[in-house]
């Protein structure tokens, strides 16, 4: 019997609970019922002490017994008992390993082809009435067919299976198979695993095989060295250079000499010869000059020219973000004092032009006017006004000599990180704030640094920082950097790109990152769900592709294209059954008893209802006999 695959004790416990429920319902059914009657006088007269004593007991024990018996019969019917031996139709779960490693080369085809052949052999040996469910197992256990005696559907599903990009989570697949079998009333068959059993090292230790597990193991393919992680980011101090990081692992049993190359636009940018010990992982860093835009490709190949068993992980591609820079045109008659201030940032391309050569149509991202106001303002360009004369869009309220810088508005992005005070400025222009203007720095008489946001951003400095004591202060280059970052945030966004495996990713964010500023989108710019645990962000991507993570000024691109190859092979205990069983080893089915038990249970309920139901013959005296009994004494009296 397979009552939801419960044990005998569990079945009895369930029957006990149901019986207790029936008794409770019975007592409730027979408990006080409210009725409205014409008078109470006859009711009072009908009571006697013996009657009262009986009422505390079960009044219709046969009714209760019939109900319990009928319920037990129905429970047994659900349990699905059979006559004769225990051989009968069984439910098998066939777990087909479709992890990335199953795409490895074998002697003929790939490993998955061998697993398919084994699975088909197992199917061919099953009795005709056994039912089979196919489950594809990689990082997730995915049922492909329900429990079905139809072999055609299962065979078609097996043949359509393809290796995925993720590694095998075998324990999850086994748990799923066990649970699926428990939900069925038929006999439990085998849980059959067909595959290489390549799992992560952590998982390999903790796999608990179920008692009915049968293994159709495929011998793991031979030598393989593959990429495991690949990342690149712009070098901090060299804007033209990339800092790349590559991790390789040797999954084979012998040391391997390999060549690791990085290329862009079919041009090898860097290469390295490596020797990897068996089972070891090697990490390499490259610093190389970026030449244009395009995908960055990492490729590993054997030094002796022979390809390995799993070529899918021999290369990885990174889609690098475009190399953006800020072009800054400075109109000044004194470029030399400004040069060290502005050319220090490698992401800014600076050109110094005399005001006499001013061109309103000249292309630039940002224009700086040093003590110069052009006759016609440039259109659609961000502008920095330094010590602006009359004619600038900022209104000068007063000009103050020997002014002391007193305050920075730290809530303004232009003043972030600036704390310098009491610097004496020989002369400073105090601005009148227009609508939308924000003060950045103040002297006693008013704001001397002002920012104006809008479609075109503008900033005005009421003094020349390189012509005062400010040139010795750290605040001066920081202020310029803040202004440029505020005006062109895209150019200053830190970008790093990583190639990784499909599945769950955990990313450490910078401290203090605003959760509202975090966005995770896929390659089609569709948002992906994510969770934030402190400063760690988790997201899951089930399909290969790119995922963009934006958090404030930082953008990370995850190219989830590297196949996730597990590093260990599961070694099951010797007691676990292996191989394809003999033809028809499941035996033949025996006649089922459940229809008879169900009919008996239903009949019991019917009899109980007929005898003890509300309108039953046992509860109400027939009307004709009642009338006859009523008439008799009156006739005598008359």
């Amino acid at each position: 019997m397979n009552f939801l695959n419960l044990s005998l004790g569990e079945l009895f416990a369930l029957a006990g609970i149901v019986s207790a429920g029936i008794v409770a319902l019975y007592l409730l059914d027979r408990s006080k019922r409210r009725h409205m009657v014409g008078t109470l006088r006859f009711w009072v007269a009908s009571q006697s002490p013996t009657e009262f004593k009986r009422s505390r007991k079960v009044q219709q024990p046969w009714s209760l017994l019939l109900q319990i018996l009928s319920t037990l019969l129905l429970l047994l019917a659900i349990a699905g008992p059979r006559l004769g031996s225990s051989n009968g139709a069984r439910n098998h779960v066939l777990i087909l390993d479709t992890s990335a490693w199953m795409g490895a080369r074998a002697r003929q085809g790939i490993l998955l082809d061998q697993a398919k052949a084994q699975a088909l052999s197992f199917l061919a040996g099953l009795p005709a009435d056994d039912r089979v469910m196919l489950v594809r197992a990689d990082a997730l256990a995915t049922p492909v067919t329900p429990f079905s005696p139809s072999r055609e559907a299962v065979i078609a599903a097996i043949q359509q299976s393809q290796p995925s990009a993720s590694s095998l989570n075998l324990q999850q697949a086994l748990d799923f198979a066990e649970h699926s079998q428990k939900l069925q009333t038929e006999r439990v068959g085998d849980i059959v695993f067909a595959g290489a059993g390549r799992v992560s090292r952590d998982d390999a230790e903790g796999i608990a095989p179920p008692a009915n597990l049968r293994l159709l193991l495929i011998p793991s393919a031979g030598e393989n060295v593959g990429l495991r992680r690949f990342g690149a980011r712009r070098a901090a101090h060299e804007p033209d250079s990339l800092d790349a990081f590559v991790a390789l692992r040797n999954d084979g049993a012998r040391p391997r000499d390999v060549i690791l190359e990085l290329s862009m636009q079919k041009k090898v940018l860097a290469s390295k010869n490596l020797t990897l010990a068996p089972g070891s992982e090697s990490e390499s860093n490259f610093l190389f000059k970026r030449e244009g835009d395009g995908p960055l490709i990492a490729r590993v190949r054997s030094a002796n020219g022979r390809s390995d068993a799993f070529p899918q992980d021999d290369s990885a591609v990174l889609d690098l973000p475009p190399d953006t820079r800020v072009t800054l045109t400075v109109y000044t008659n004194e470029p030399e004092p400004l040069r060290p201030l502005l050319t220090g940032n490698p992401r800014v391309t600076v050109s110094f032009v005399p005001p006499a050569k001013y061109d309103a149509q000249a292309k630039a991202d940002v224009i700086l006017f040093d003590r110069f106001a052009p006759p016609s303002a440039p259109a659609n360009v961000n502008v920095i006004w330094m010590d602006p004369p009359n004619g600038s869009p900022f209104t000068v309220k007063a000009e103050q000599a020997n002014a002391k810088l007193q305050n920075w508005h730290s809530d303004n992005p232009l003043a972030q990180g600036l704390f310098t005070r009491d610097v004496e400025l020989p002369t400073a222009k105090v601005f009148t704030l227009a609508q939308g203007d924000q003060a950045v720095a103040d002297i006693a008489q008013g704001p001397v640094v002002v920012a104006r946001a809008g479609a075109v951003k503008m900033a005005a400095l009421g003094f020349n920082p390189v012509k005062s004591n400010m040139r010795f202060e750290l605040a001066t280059p920081l202020l310029m950097a803040n202004i440029l970052r505020w005006m062109e945030p895209e150019a200053f966004r830190e970008a790093d790109v990583q190639a990784s495996t499909v599945g769950t990713m955990s990313v450490a964010l910078e401290k203090g990152t605003d959760p509202n500023a975090v966005h995770v989108v896929d390659g089609n710019n569709r948002p992906l769900p994510f969770t934030l645990d402190g400063n760690t962000l988790h997201f899951f991507s089930g399909a290969p592709g790119a995922v963009h993570l934006q958090s404030g000024t930082r953008e990370s691109v995850y190219s989830l294209t590297v196949p996730d190859v597990a590093e260990a092979t599961w070694k099951p205990a010797a007691s676990v059954r292996r191989g394809v069983p003999g033809l028809g080893s499941g035996g033949t089915s025996s006649p089922a008893l459940w229809p008879w038990l169900a009919a008996l249970g239903g009949l019991g309920f019917l009899i109980e209802w007929f005898l003890y139901g509300r309108n039953s013959v046992m509860r109400v005296i027939p009307r004709s006999s009642a009338r006859a009994a009523f008439k008799l004494p009156w006739r005598k009296a008359s």
């Binding site: 409210r34 409205m36 009711w43 009908s46 009657e51 009422s55």
Partner: protein, 300 residues
Amino acid sequence: MPESNAIIESDLLEKLERLTIHWQKSLPGLVGGHNLSRIRGSGQEFLDHRHFHHGDDLRDVNWRAFLRLDKLFLKMFQLEPRVPVRILVDTSRSMLTGGEDGTSLNKFDYARQLAAALCYVGLIRLDTMTIQPFSGKMGQSLRAGGGRQRIQPVLRFLEGLKCGGQTNFMEVTREFMSTYEQRGVVIVISDFLDDADCERPIQYLADFGHEVFLAHVWSEEDRVPPWDGDLDLEDAETGTHLQLPFGPDARAAYTEAFDKFAASIKNIALRNGGRYVAISTATPIEDAVFGPFVRMGVLQ
């Protein structure tokens, strides 16, 4: 022919036309009735002779006997009085019980049908009919007479009756006797469930000179309650609750008590020259009228 009505079917009314309300007592009344009376009066039927006394009406002298016997004898005639028939319909809340299973009417609806049938029979014979509802006190009554065409107001009146209140037979009897001074036929349609005594008021009615017909209406569950187990019972009239266990033995004792009660009502009716009819609401109204009512001589 009266129209069909929700209270009573026209087919039944047709059948009722051959019946007559019959009473046994000699009751006073105006000439024109259909029941003979032992009361001497100006009727058509000869009753007896007696000696002539001074002051007697010379028109009643038997002159043939005087010529033969040379003595004056006076002829006496039987009176055929028109006797008022009063139907008392119980409208207390206890009449609403029964019929909850949907297979039969409740007692109140059944009593209204019975009253309509009896009233129609009386109207056919030109009796003066009075419908008098009552519970704790007498309600608004309706007097009808003059033939079958007067049944529609009666049916409308019965349809408009509402149940409510607690039965008080003693109070109702006092009020009845003070309201209706002329003796007549009193038909009481009730379940007679009065927590006070209902026997003495009936006795008073009979002692006053009325001919009392008691129509005891009961539902099946009034006599044989179909319930089992612990019951929470509410008295329909008083609202009193009683919680008790109930089983086959208690049911038998209950039925026995009910039968005793019915027998006591029957005895009081018969002892005073009245008649008693017990009807279950499960009995179709036609079977009740042509069955127990005819057998007991209430209708002929």
